[in-house]
Amino acid sequence: MSALLEVRGVRKRFGGVEALAGCSFRVEEGSITSLIGPNGSGKTTLFNAVTGFATPDEGDVELRGEKIQQLSPDRIYAKGLGRTFQQVRVFPRLSVLENVLVATSHSSVAQGLRTRTGASERERAMEILEYVNIARLAGVPAGSLSFGQKKLLEIATILVGEPKLLLLDEPAGGVNPTMTQQIGDKIRELNARGITFLVVEHNMEFVMGISHRVVVMARGKVIAEGPPDVVRRDPAVLEAYLGA
């Protein structure tokens, strides 16, 4: 296995807070890797640094060996790296279908001006909505969906861009057990189809259930990593959680 994503010595400071203090780890191609850690340990900031929403002060982010830390979010998405946000985010005034269509292709502005939001893409978008069970809501403004439906829509939206690597920030946060189960199943299914995952999640049962590898962060650094059952028993991890 080779590293699809490699984070090396990334630092990010907000005023007096060092949110990332030299963070390094790898995400192997084809894996489901979970990123866990106490509140405020820098997980979301790391996602931002990897996806172009926050430029690291120091360090490198490499996607298949290519440095991407200076690229804008749209460029990084075009390279096959999609993400969801911790606070569920959809385009509330666009319809569910339009939400997905926004993400279908990354055409230039000139192309975009000439292209109508087209039939072939519509079909693909509908397939994906079908896949996450919200196809019947295609015409509804996304703002009127329930919380769980918005989460599914978020995943559908990034799926349509055919990403190689998906970063999910608390996909099971705030959803009921049935939906959590559903989301876990989808992640496994998609992984079997070749998509690599990096998942931030506080629900330990969920994490232990889906992950091949677990990376543990505390105070902006990686303090442990390995297979789920090894990490679970790591004293440093227990200490970070209890002492936080």
Partner: protein, 392 residues
């Protein structure tokens, strides 16, 4: 009441409230005519929304607009509709950046003024005389506006917040006004500039201007419709809803906003040039006028920002009202009072504008039904406090 009846009732009573006092006030038939126009426009809007036959109803609207000056040929009647159509173009164009993209520019009057000064200066330097040819020169007003919009957009959109954008655009407008006052050699300062008189006159005087404004309105609405249905337009609306998220799913937000800004300047530049030719004399304070921006925003806001129909409907309501007020009271300033009152009424009763309010009401019932069904299926019982969705 059914929602479409509600819209009709709403628009018509709004029109009544504005125009009835005016028709009583004035002795000419222009008020009555404008009122009839408004009611027709409202009915047309209702039909369009309800039946979604945009193309057919637009065609009917255009035919009605072509027939209008043949039926109502008084100077007042054609002047009123000239301004209404000019503002249909201006507000629809502004809507591309202000409505679709959500970046409220309060400085688009800069492009109006740039267009106006372009036609005046070009005609003067080239020694052109009045005639139909000057309408071609008016196109240069659009070119100039577009060219100036490039550095302006670059600066105004650099800071990535809507607040800073609003402030910078206002600053631009006043900067141009100051320049127009102070670059005496080019602009003649506060004495203003003359534009050559047309070589037609009399009762026919308004007609070419009317059709120029109509053509510009049709082309601009067409442009806005094209953009709204394009992939580019979808990107703009995604930016309006959530700019970060848009970037996160591959929308090149900077290029989208910049392009929308520059495009939206062009028709307004042409409108400014047509206005300059129509009024035959321009001053810095009348073409680089913040009132123009207030009018644009209020028109778009009244009808519904970000919808195609909104700025059209808003302009068709507001312009006749404003023109009639000026016509009958003879005093400037009453239109400001009207604007203030209207702003309050709209904000209080329909904060998202006429068209979105009605469309929303019509949809809500259907939507809730669909959401409930799907929810039952996916067994997702978590209630969502934020189910209202955004609007603005």
């Amino acid at each position: 009441m059914k929602p479409n009846n509600m819209l009709a009732a709403g628009v018509i009573s709004l029109a009544l409230a504005i125009l009835l006092p005016l028709t009583v006030l004035g002795s000419s038939s222009a008020g009555v005519i404008a009122f009839v126009v408004l009611v027709l426009a409202a009915l047309w809007a209702v039909y369009t929304i309800e039946k979604r036959r945009a193309l057919l109803t637009s065609l009917i609207g255009v035919i009605a607009a072509i027939a209008y000056p043949l039926v109502f040929n008084s100077t007042e009647a054609t002047t009123i509709m000239f301004f209404a159509l000019l503002y249909v173009a201006i507000a629809s164009s502004w809507n591309i950046i202000g409505g679709f993209t959500g970046y409220i520019s309060l400085g688009h009057a800069a492009f109006f003024g740039l267009g106006a000064y372009t036609i005046a200066l070009v005609a003067d330097r080239l020694g052109l005389s009045g005639g139909y040819g000057l309408f071609a020169v008016a196109l240069l007003g659009g070119v100039a506006a577009g060219l100036f919009a490039i550095p302006m957009g670059y600066i105004a959109l650099r800071l990535r917040t809507i607040h800073s954008f609003v402030i910078v655009t206002i600053a631009f407008l006043f900067m141009y006004q100051l320049l127009a006052f102070n670059l005496q050699d080019a602009t003649n300062g506060s004495s203003g500039l003359a534009v050559p008189q047309p070589d037609w006159s009399g009762a026919f005087f308004n007609i070419p201007f009317y059709f120029a404004a109509l053509l510009l309105a049709v082309l601009t609405v067409g442009l806005a419709a094209w953009i709204r249905n394009s992939r580019f337009g979808l990107g703009l609306m995604a930016i309006r809803d959530d700019e970060d998220k848009a970037a996160g799913v591959g929308v090149d937000t900077w290029k989208h906003k910049f392009t929308a800004y520059v495009i939206s300047a062009v028709p307004i530049g042409i409108a400014g040039a047509i206005y300059a030719y129509f009024s035959s004399y321009i001053y810095p304070q009348t073409v680089f006028d913040p009132m123009i921006d207030l009018t644009i925003v209020l028109s778009a806001f009244l009808g519904g920002m970000g919808t195609l129909l909104g700025p059209i409907l808003g302009s068709l309501v507001l312009q006749p009202a404003q023109q009639l007020l000026t016509l009958y009271t003879g005093a400037a300033g009453w239109d400001l009072v009207l604007f203030g009152v209207l702003f309050l009424v709209v904000i209080l009763l329909m904060p998202s504008g006429i068209v979105p309010t009605v469309v929303e009401r019509m949809r809500r019932a259907r939507v809730q039904e669909a959401v409930r069904k799907a929810d039952a299926l996916s067994q997702d019982a978590v209630p969502d406090a934020a189910a209202e969705g955004g609007q603005g």
